[in-house]
Symmetry: C3
Subunit: 205 residues, 3 copies
């Protein structure tokens, strides 16, 4: 009960943080109010939509309940009206975004396992749930997705999803597995920002 | 009966207009004959395809009937062979495109309501049906989708879809609701072009 | 039996070749190890994923079996560690890629016909299966998809898929139809590279 509430709360916070990041990219690209809200919504809900489409669970959750749409659109409006404030809150926004990453990679992996996928496919879906919104955000902004060339972002989602799947299949109950896996993803992400970790590029590129 | 025929006719005209806009972008980007036809088809049918995928109505209508594919591809060939003529017909093409916008936002919203979505999800799907093709067109052309930063385009679709959904749920029969909602979207779109309406950008951006 | 094995082998080779092409683009765009593997996987499996989503066959095959993911990711690692060698093997890689094109256009068309699509829709799906991965690769790299403006690539896939569909519907058994159609696509592709065939651009563009 409390765990469900915790996940739901984190999910809302994560959607909000993803929405903020989408809206901030939209402002940088000089989009208008509508473009800002669209990029906020796309970043906030696209990852889960892609997951639901791939699992055949249509219409996707984000079209059936109002919460994710409303939260992400609200994030867009916040940026539109309060942009400079939010720009100054860069660090808390980044922490929120890491929380979203942790929650989404576990939630995506969990749903994929429930729909009968084996571990590799479920882990991949977990990662897509976590990073899909950000990738669409950057594709809409006509940029190479940040997740492909910057920092340990998708890798943290991969570690979280893999940990969750393996823990669950090893017999750990869902709640501790969720907490451990999500915290691992969040910690990896925050540490990579704090210490400037990067993945190597091709040595000969 | 006549209403169905009217919708079907407008649908063909709208697909044709969307196909023209895709093909004109393709020519501007120096694509070859195949690229021109692909962009015409993508712009003409992608919105409806995304709607059908999200509703789980697969294979999408555009793969089951020949008409939309043929009409959109035909628009591509028209541009290839008659480009300068079509460039001179810029105003009628724009009006056709506005008609397509009005028809598609109502048709998408209608189908989503039939599939059991509530009003917010159905309105969102209506907008995606209307603007999805143009967004894919611009993403394929490696540009920021025009709908995100130019003119009152998606907003007109939003107004049309919302009007349709609310009218229908308030007990108005489908045919007058369709006419009123589609006309509203078309009028908003044409007025925004005529008077140069724009949405505001972030005041601090 | 032997035919199934042949198709499966070609499918693996094609996925590997598509993965190499994705990874090479990633290196050129200075992506890190993760980005290289993601672009390899996206290029290798996205075409089939889009096909399965459009057919409503979810979760898509690429999430249910490990082989395509593993093969495509392996291609990414090969490029990361052995890039200069692979760059020198440009000609064999191009031939492998043409093989992949031939196999994928036929396999996509075959599956679409099995799912009850008529010939035009099935041919379109065959082409999307063959070129979808490369299109996503270029969209992720923020470039106009190469298939839209370079060489006879998608057209070869179109010829292969159309030949397969027509041959099958004319009563030819599946195995010879597969061989003839795939070889036609491969031959068209290789000939277009060898002789520098290009499609015309709009004469007035």
């Amino acid at each position: 009960m409390t765990a469900t509430l915790l996940i739901a709360t984190l999910d809302v916070l994560g959607t909000f943080a993803f929405g903020l990041s989408g809206a901030l990219v939209a402002v940088r690209r000089k989009l208008d109010l509508f473009g800002i809200v669209v990029l906020a919504v796309a970043t906030g809900v696209a990852g889960g939509m892609v997951r639901d489409i791939l699992l055949g669970d249509t219409p996707p959750a984000a079209l059936r309940t109002l919460t994710p749409l409303g939260v992400a659109a609200g994030a867009g409006l916040c940026v539109f009206f309060l942009g400079p404030v939010i720009n100054r809150l860069r660090r808390p926004v980044m922490v929120l975004d890491a929380l979203g990453l942790g929650v989404f990679c576990v939630a995506g992996c969990h749903k994929a396992l429930e729909f009968g996928l084996a571990i590799p496919g479920a882990v991949l879906l977990g990662v897509m749930t976590a990073v899909g919104g950000g990738m669409l955000r950057d594709m809409l902004a006509a940029e190479v997705p940040r997740v492909l060339h910057e920092e340990v972002y998708a890798l943290a989602a991969l570690a979280g999803a893999l940990t969750y799947a393996v823990a669950l299949r090893s017999g750990m109950p869902a709640i501790p597995a969720t907490v451990v896996a999500a915290l691992l993803a969040v910690a990896l992400r925050l540490a990579s920002v704090r210490f400037g970790w990067r993945l190597p590029r091709a040595p000969w590129g």
